[in-house]
């Protein structure tokens, strides 16, 4: 599947979590299955993909970030990539906002925006899969999709076709509370405090008694799942990515 000669419609930027994290790999496969299902030709860079440099940049290591960015841009430009979709808001933000002035100009979308497009065009419906009709789903806005890039409605469009009952947390959309992973926190122990951020967030989600907590970011996924485990609610509440919801509803 790695880009070979012919030009695909879109490059699927998998990202480090989507490549290596076992749970996130499932999201990666769900996105692929949707792309195949709707007949979009896509490619991935496979082993030629590297970290976008996002965690390094947020932590203050601009050198490392730019090294990664410039190397990635060389690869992307060599394959003449025009359009990129990614399932990670951090990759999305970095590719979309921070690559252009280093010479990487692409049309970058997050998979929630792809799903919304497909739904609007009528290409993605709900057929033959698990029914989420009437199920209570709450959505956790990823900071780097929501506040960072103003994308709030795209991920929510998925719940509409599922005909699920979307219950919003008080802190949602612009007021969304971080899961605690951003800014390189994912890779370190939290600083001293009286609570972990993901616990605070999952507590808020669980108050709504949802059957699914929906995510749109592999790092949020980890944080939310850890939080659900902390409250020993794994049996009642699933944490699923919006792509997984769409894939499951279509039995993909």
């Amino acid at each position: 599947m790695a880009a070979e000669g012919q030009e695909p419609e879109v490059l699927f930027w998998v990202g480090c979590a989507g490549s290596f994290d076992e749970r996130a790999q499932k999201i990666t496969r769900a996105v692929c299955s949707i792309l195949q299902h709707v007949g979009i030709s896509y490619a991935v860079l496979g082993t030629e993909e590297s970290c976008t440099g996002d965690p390094a940049k947020r932590a203050g290591n601009e050198f490392l970030f730019q090294m990664m960015a410039i190397t990635n841009i060389e690869v992307l430009n060599a394959y003449n990539i025009k359009k990129i979709v990614t399932a990670c808001p951090h990759c999305f933000n970095t590719l979309k906002n921070e690559y252009p002035n280093l010479g990487g100009n692409y049309d970058v979308i997050h998979h929630s925006q792809l799903l919304q497009q497909l739904i609007d065009e009528g290409k993605l419906k709900v057929t033959g899969g698990e029914s989420f009709k009437g199920k209570k789903i709450t959505f956790h806005d990823p900071c780097y999709l929501g506040r960072a890039n103003g994308v709030y409605e795209a991920p929510r469009s998925v719940f509409e076709i599922l005909d699920a009952e979307l219950v919003e947390m008080k802190r949602c959309k612009t007021n969304g509370l971080c899961c605690g992973a951003g800014g390189a926190q994912m890779f370190k122990e939290p600083e001293k405090g009286n609570k972990d951020i993901n616990i605070e967030r999952v507590e808020e989600a669980l108050e709504l008694k949802p059957s699914v907590i929906a995510a749109a970011c592999p790092f949020c996924m980890t944080m939310l799942r850890d939080g659900v485990k902390h409250f020993e609610k794994e049996a009642e509440v699933e944490v699923l990515d919006i792509a997984e919801l769409a894939a499951r509803a279509n039995d993909l």
Partner: protein
Amino acid sequence: MIGQILFVLIAGAAIGLFSKNVKKIRRNIRLGKPLDRSDNPAERWKTMAMVALGQSKMTARPVAGFLHILIYLGFVIINLEVMEIVIDGVFGTHRIFSFLGGFYNVLIGSFEFLALGVLLACIIFLIRRNVLKLKRFSGIEMTEWPRSDANYILIAEILLMIAFLTMSAADYKLQGMGIGHYIKAGAFPVSSFIADTLPHNEAALVYTERFCWWFHIVGIFIFLNYIPYSKHFHILLAFPNTWYSNLKNKGEFNNMSSVTNEVKAMLDPSFTPPADAPAGKFGAKDVTDLNWVNLMNAYTCTECGRCTSSCPANITGKLLSPRKIMMDTRDRLEEVGRNIDTHGPDYSDGKALLGDYITNEELWACTTCNACTQACPVNIDPLAIIVELRRYLVMEESNAPASVNNMFSNVENNQAPWKYAPADRFNWAKND
């Protein structure tokens, strides 16, 4: 005549002192690094009109938002009346605008309602701070001075409004008694209610009216000169601050061009950096390493705590408070400014924003979630300062937590933040 001379002297001194202090603040802000934020003026005017003039972000918290808009409107509109007071003061006239007739009555009448509104709003704000003790107004950075500052402002506004209304009440009563130059002018829907509590005696009434008139206007001049020392300076800086705010996606962190040159030179030895390439240190250690917008942000901060109360780190008990980041930046900048005033521009006191004011622990607690920038009613960006300080820690001092350093070396050697072999990157497609 003596009154007029006295008035002109006081007004001149007040305005002179005020402009001196404003100049000093301007000088301090310009100690920051240059940054061009003049692009897209149409969008900038719009942002200023919405956020500063229109107070669009205040109403995210409806109660405080409504009360604040009341005080804001009161402040802006009652200034029309202050204009009349100043003219009267200079020329020794009384209610110079009263020739406007019916329109004047409408004006004065609406000022009275606004004054009452401001009065009530300030009382409620005082109660929120001191009786209900809202959590947003406490925190490690809310020490003695910032708490008192907030109260002083509210009390000052209450006193000014009381003086204004009492003055009108006395005037109203004198008008009714048909005394001297107290011609019938204005409408007094609010102050007429307190008129009865005033003595029914000409001399006492004239004295009351004059006393309140002087108290009100001198109070305003004192207040004017208090503002530059206070968080209340936001009433002026909110406008430029929103005009120069960051219009890009909040998730975009600037690419440091100084680094681009070095990285390009490293990857391609034939690369020669442009002659005007910025040099110097990476990131910020002290306020003078920050850019001027960061510094203007610090002077604009109203210490309202909306940022801190939405900060995930602060909510979960971490040391980080974005409001403290802004207050520390201002305090340090003031200190640097005082040093320049007393010891000249080349003096160094050996202190810095990083370390002496803001600790590493605070910086490393930030998730870069942008909740603070979203919450700020005047578009202040605490995250920009946090990132600059982190850049200094990492690139100049190599002083990151061990786990973060591990992440760096993984990214560098394995092209991923975890220790996986790059050759395994495509394995997700296999183990289905």
